[in-house]
Each structure stands twice: as C-alpha cells, then as structure tokens.
C-alpha cells in the first residue's frame, strides 16, 4: 500500500476492523451509562468524534515538537490529559458563547468526555504506532466515527429491548455487555478487510 493511501486505510481500519470500543474496550464507562437513549447517544457520539479528531493531531504536534526534542516523553500522560481537558473546556466556553441550542444539546456531554478513555487511548495508540500528523488526524476521526456507530447501534438495540423479558440478574449492564459482545463478533467479520499493524 502506498504512503499516500495509508491514512485512508487507517481511517477505515479505525472504524471497522480496529473499532476503539469493540476491539479495544475503550470508552466503556460512558458507553454503558449513556446508551439508553438514542438522542443522548447521538449527542455524545458527535462530541466524542469532534474531540478525537482535534486532540489526536494536537497531541501529535505537542509530542513530536515539544516533548521529543526535550526528551520528556515520559511526561506524555500528564501533558495529553491536560491538553484534552483544556481543549474540552475551551470548546465548552466557545459553544456556550455562540450557540445556546448547541450548548444545551452538546455542551452537557463535554465534561463527560475528559474522562472518556477513548480520547486518551487514541492519543497513546498514535504514539505507539508512530503515525504521522495526517495519519493521526484520520485515526482520530475514524476512531470517533467508529465509537459513534457503536454507541448508536447499541442505543437502537437497547430501545428495542425495552419490552423484552430479561433475567433479573442481567438487567442493565449485564445485557448491555452481552449485546456489546455480539456487536464485537459482528465487527470481527470486517477483519479481513484491512490489515494494519
């Protein structure tokens, strides 16, 4: 595969074969807590996608332009989490200032995002896999879209399950995890599509 196509391949891999939620278990907490309603899932999904697409390349820039030249790689955890928190805070303020509607539909999810493991996880994967700047943008965007698809599918299935009789012990998290398991199996069907290591 040519260099030119690599970011595109990473993009699709992040959505399907290497879905950040279903194969890497990242972002599970908010996934289980929020996926009860379709609308809130969509809101959180969009917010996660946006933050991922911006913070991954942003962290790339800070890591390779600041931390590596000064040999401070071991500080990356702290630096990444601060950047993510600061960025989320900034977005919250901007949205609040310019669009009240958007603030009420999206803004309430933003604080949840700082502690979403998927965001930090994507940045750490980006470092370990040594992606370039462009690739890390596509990786962040793809991961976000993958997370969005997963949580929307989950919310849809849970909606359908509302009237179903579920064993008492499985109600809530139990059944959600089983659904996630089946979804992960379904996504494994994509695995022959793209090979990225």
């Amino acid at each position: 595969m040519g260099n030119f196509l690599f970011p595109v391949a990473v993009f699709f891999a992040a959505i399907f074969t290497d879905n950040i939620l279903l194969t890497n278990y990242l972002g599970m907490c908010s996934f289980l807590a929020v996926s009860k309603e379709l609308e809130t899932s969509a809101g959180l999904g969009i917010a996660v996608t946006f933050v991922l697409a911006v913070t991954t390349p942003l962290n790339w820039a800070v890591y390779y332009l600041v931390l590596v030249p000064f040999q401070l790689e071991y500080l990356r955890f702290i630096v990444f989490i601060i950047i993510i928190a600061a960025f989320v805070q900034l977005i919250e303020m901007v949205i609040e200032r310019y669009s009240e509607n958007l603030y009420f539909s999206l803004g309430i999810f933003l604080p949840l995002i700082t502690v979403n493991c998927a965001i930090l996880g994507a940045s750490l994967f980006m470092v370990i896999r040594e992606y370039s700047f462009i690739t890390s943008f596509f990786f962040g965007l793809g991961s976000g879209i993958g997370w969005f698809i997963a949580i929307m599918a989950m919310a849809g299935i849970r909606n359908k399950l509302r009237g179903a009789k579920i064993p008492i012990g499985l109600e809530g998290a139990g059944i959600a995890l089983i659904i996630a398991g089946f979804m992960a199996m379904a996504f494994m069907g994509f695995s022959g599509m793209i090979q990225i290591t």
């Binding site: 279903l22 194969t23 890497n24 278990y25 990242l26 972002g27 599970m28 907490c29 289980l32 071991y74 500080l75 990356r76 955890f77 702290i78 989490i81 601060i82 928190a85 502690v115 979403n116 493991c117 930090l120 996880g121 750490l124 994967f125 470092v127 370990i128 064993p167 008492i168 012990g169 499985l170 809530g172 998290a173 139990g174 059944i175 995890l177 089983i178 996630a180 398991g181 089946f182 992960a184 199996m185 494994m188």
Partner: protein
C-alpha cells in the same frame, strides 16, 4: 481510629460494594488485557498502587486543595503515579510493558481511581484512604483475575503461560478475542447479581 472502621473500610469494596459488580466502574482500560493472566496481574498491581497512593496523597492535602480545581489536582496526582508505574514496568519488564501498550497509561482515566478519590479520600484521613484505595483496587483486581483465568484457560489452554489442558482441548479462539471479554464479564455480573438477589430475599 477504631479497628472496626478499618475493617469495614477494607471489606466493603471486596464484597457488597464491589466496584465492578455493583458500580460497573473502571472496566474500560483493563478488560482489554484480560486475555492473559500474567498481563492482568501486572495491570491489577498497577491499578492497586495508583488507587492506594493517589487516595492517600489527595487525602493528605484535602484541606489545602481548593474545591474549584480539585479535579485537575486529582488528575495530576493520579497521572504522576501512573507515570511511576509506567517507568518501573518499562525498566524491569519491558516485554510485558510492550504487550500492555497504551493500557498502562489509561489507568489515569480508569473511573475507579478518580471515583475513590472523589467519594472517599476527600472526606477521610490519609491512612483510612490508603486502605480504602488498596481494597478497592483489590476488589477490582480479583474480578479481573477471575475473568483472565477463564479466558486464558478456555482460549489458549494455558494458565500463566503453562500448558494445562492437553492437545485434546479445542481452543475457544473467541475467548481470547474481544467478544470473549464482554461475554465473560456479562456472565460474571449475572451470576453475582442473581446471588445478591437471593440473599436479599432471604434476609
């Protein structure tokens, strides 16, 4: 400090207030490494170390931290301990460090660490917070070790890397792949919840 209090603080997270079964917290970063028992053990030790010491540290400074920025301070303290774990692991066991990949760093966003600091360490004395953090880490750890044990046994026929099931055993490849983790946790939660429910009826 009364001894009863210490005992209660230690036992609650292991039993009736288990972070994984009851609160479904913090499974994000660690479920991913439960396909091998040895990796899980390392990860669990890392989480225990982080929870215990960050609870202790925050509790020590709980009167000095302004409540407006407490989240940021907590995150920084947690991140510091995670960095220590990361560096130690990289120095002494680079192989496992490589296999765990980003998951060591993700202890920072593990809800259990932050949850214990917020819920317990901010109101309690340092020693008690240390015990609470340690116990929460253990309560969380043994659940993951059970999951890892079953996944490795059924998925690869090994325990801690040693072959226990002979060649007659057909490996359940699904167990070491991502869906296996979801199913195992769901089954465990199911079993525990059924048990709790029966206890509730009797008592």
């Amino acid at each position: 400090m009364a001894r009863g209090m210490v005992k209660k603080t230690f036992l609650t997270p292991l039993g009736k207030d288990n972070p994984v079964f009851v609160q479904i917290l913090g499974i994000c970063s660690t479920l991913a490494v439960t396909n091998k028992l040895a990796n899980t053990m390392v990860m669990v030790l890392g989480v225990m170390f982080t929870t215990a010491l960050s609870s202790w540290t925050i509790s020590l400074f709980r009167k000095q931290i302004p409540s407006r920025i407490r989240m940021m301070v907590e995150t920084l303290v947690i991140a510091t301990y995670v960095i220590i774990v990361d560096i130690i692991l990289k120095a002494y066991n680079p192989e496992i460090w490589k296999q765990l990949g980003p998951y060591v760093g993700l202890i920072i966003t593990n809800c259990i660490v932050m949850g214990r600091v917020e819920a317990f360490a901010l109101q309690n004395k340092p020693t008690l917070s240390l015990i609470d953090g340690l116990a929460s880490g253990m309560g969380y750890g043994y659940v993951l070790l059970i999951i890892a044990f079953v996944r490795e046994l059924l998925g690869s026929g090994t325990i801690w890397g040693y072959q226990v099931l002979g060649s007659w055993w057909t490996k359940w490849a699904i167990m070491v792949m991502p869906p296996g983790g979801f199913f195992m946790l769901a089954i465990l939660i199911w079993v525990v919840h059924e048990g709790v429910m029966k206890e509730g009826k009797n008592g």
